[in-house]
Amino acid sequence: MANSENRYLVTVDDVEFDLAVTPKGSSFEVEYNGARYKVEAHRLSDRKYLFKIDESSSEVDLSRNGGGYNIYLEGKDMIARVEPYHLAELRKKASKALSGATEKIVRVPMPGLVLSIAVKPGDKVKKGMTLAVIEAMKMENLIRAAADGTVKEIFAAPGKAVEKNENLLEIE
């Protein structure tokens, strides 16, 4: 992938798509599976768009549904979820780790700026609870607990610029 900052893992129903999106003037370039596609998006009405992928057009109904999107396209209803690739990796690693030995140190998944730390030492956390918010890739990324535990130590502070894989906090 040329530009890992714009790399996403999109899950449509149960199928995963690893792709990169780069704006090009008024359209986009999408890199997927080794190929590059030119994508134009035109708004038709309220929640309806015409997406043109290379030379092929599709009418797409698209609306937010919680953290994902409801999509209706060519007779098919789908649910799509979009994650920055790094976060998706982290999530997967976390759930894998969970099934083996629990990872105690929570690390920064991508270079960014710590916006807030939601916990303090001694707090009990549940799996999925937000631990910190990091601004990166032009968006707020929520760092969540991969398993239940208690916060032991915190290594970062709001306002701090952090590097990838830097220690964020420790849970035991």
Binding site: D61, Y69, L73, G75, K76
Partner: protein, 509 residues
């Protein structure tokens, strides 16, 4: 003495009400719609010349309210009532009520409806008229001692059916002798509570036959003709979903035999108007009388497309007391027609009806395409009535062209707001068995055990992934901008977002 009908009350709703209203308009007849509370802005109300409120949403308080409908017919000065299909269409008491009130019921006489509505009686009429019926027999419900002997003569598996039957109630397939008695007893109980009539009878159970029906038409001057057949074996939940004419298994000889049989039954029962004689056809092309539908059929447009006739108009013509406008030899079917019923159902959830508002509704059109629909954009699909949205009926010079056009039309269809059977229909039309014309009533379950019905586009998921990623990208840009502009007043970024980023989702022309 022929009587000119000037005004028809259409005692129905949805697509069939609209079909009949259109037929009235084409014939210069004033149409009167009736509607329930939730149908007050329904399309059939808008299209009719007049519309009358008849009660609350539940059908028994409105579309099944015989007395109210008769009252409205009198108030509106309607000469005739067209019942469509469903609701009161096969209700002999309603037909009799019309007769009593000197309103023409567009359908057979009430006694014919009563006679043929009783499956056991219909079977007797068919036998008498020389039609092949499925081996079977009735028996005295009170003495079940000979039941096992009778079943043995017919041969297992046997089908237990209710005389007053319909909708599969009181019906049992029995494959082993030891389960017979309990099945018969429970069928009697079920039929008794469903129809107030516990009479049941046996038929030999045919495994996966084809369902082929003959359209008949009879006038009050002794003429009766058949208008060819419709193949209706593609079914889900034992209800037809895709029909075609001609049937892929039909030969001119078989058509003439089945047609003649159907006409004989029409004559034997004193039939009047449009009707359908349903047959089962086995692998050897032997056919067996099944039942008669004493009304216009959902799938009648298939016959209209190949014969060029307007069946509603012909119903009116015959109801007025005229002779049929055609003779048997005038019927020269041309080309091939396929109908796909579009239901508001979720094929992936066992065809569960799907309710909601049609936020978008756009029909296909172009060469060979006819859509009989009951809705427009903005219409609401409610829990109260049949979830049929429309019938897509397509004509082609041959079967291949008709199927190709049907597939094309299905991809042009746009319905948002409810689940539909469009993807299901696409799957069927492109499946090997259907294309080869080799399918029986068990086809859907055999071919699609995992219910994986999809429209032909293979890469919808990939397209959806691209669309979601780009949309998300733009949303994330928005969040980023929010944070960079913390000091600014609320709403600032929204403006910026709209101006700068959504312009990438370039404005509609």
């Amino acid at each position: 003495m022929p009587k000119r009908i000037k005004k028809i009350l259409v005692a129905n709703r949805g697509e069939i009400a609209i079909r009949v209203i259109r037929g009235c308009r084409d014939a210069g007849i004033v149409s009167v719609a009736v509607y329930s509370e939730i149908d007050k802005t329904a399309y059939h109300v808008r299209l009719a010349d007049e519309a009358y409120f008849i009660g609350q949403a539940p059908a028994r308080e409105s579309y099944l309210n015989q007395q109210k409908i008769i009252e409205v017919a009198k108030e509106a000065g309607a000469d005739a009532i067209h019942p469509g299909y469903g609701f009161l269409a096969e209700n002999d008491q309603f037909a009799a009520l019309c007769e009593k009130n000197r309103i023409i019921f567009i359908g057979p006489k009430s006694e014919t409806i009563a006679l043929l509505g009783d499956k056991l009686e219909a079977r007797k009429v068919a036998l008498k008229a020389g039609l092949p019926v499925i081996p079977g027999t009735d028996f005295d419900n009170k003495d079940l001692s000979q039941v096992e002997e009778t079943a043995k003569q017919i041969g297992y598996p046997v089908l237990v059916k209710a005389a007053a039957g319909g909708g599969g109630k009181g019906m049992r397939i029995v494959r082993e002798p030891e389960r017979l008695r309990e099945s018969v007893e429970s069928a009697i109980r079920e039929a008794g509570s469903a129809f107030g009539d516990g009479r049941v009878y046996f038929e030999k159970y045919l495994e996966n036959p084809r369902h082929v029906e003959i359209q008949i038409f009879a006038d009050s001057h002794g003429h009766a003709v058949y208008l060819g057949e419709r193949e209706c074996s593609i079914q889900r939940r034992h209800q037809k979903v895709i029909e075609e004419s001609p049937s892929p298994i039909m030969t001119p000889e078989l058509r003439e035999k089945m047609g003649t049989a159907a006409v004989n039954l029409a004559r034997a029962s004193g039939y009047l108007g449009a009707g359908t004689v349903e047959f089962l056809v086995d692998k050897n092309r032997s056919f067996y009388f099944l039942e008669v539908n004493t009304r216009l059929q959902v799938e009648h447009p298939v016959t209209e497309m190949v014969t060029g006739l307007d069946l509603v108009r012909e119903q009116i013509n015959v109801a007025e007391g005229h002779s049929l406008s055609f003779r048997q030899e005038d019927i020269q079917p041309r080309g091939h027609a396929v109908e796909c019923r579009i239901y508001a159902e979720n094929p992936h959830q066992d065809f569960l009806p799907s309710t909601g508002k049609l936020t978008e509704y756009r029909e296909p059109s172009g060469p060979g395409v006819r859509v009989d629909s009951g809705v427009v954009q903005g219409s609401e699909i409610s829990i109260y009535y049949d979830p049929i949205i429309a019938k897509l009926v397509v004509w082609g010079t041959d079967r291949e062209e008709a199927i190709a056009r049907a597939q094309r039309a299905l991809t042009e269809y746009r319905i948002s707001g409810v689940h539909t059977t469009i993807g299901f229909a696409c799957s069927i039309l492109r499946s090997g068995g259907f294309r080869a014309g080799e399918y029986s009533t068990g086809y859907v379950e055999e071919e699609f055990p995992d219910r994986n019905f999809e429209c032909p586009q293979s890469d919808q998921a990939q397209k959806a992934a691209f669309a979601a990623a780009i949309f998300d990208f733009l949303e994330k840009e928005k969040v980023s901008l929010t944070m960079k502009r913390r000091g600014e007043k609320a709403g600032g970024w929204v403006q910026y977002y709209r101006n700068q980023n959504l312009s990438r989702l370039s404005k509609m022309r």
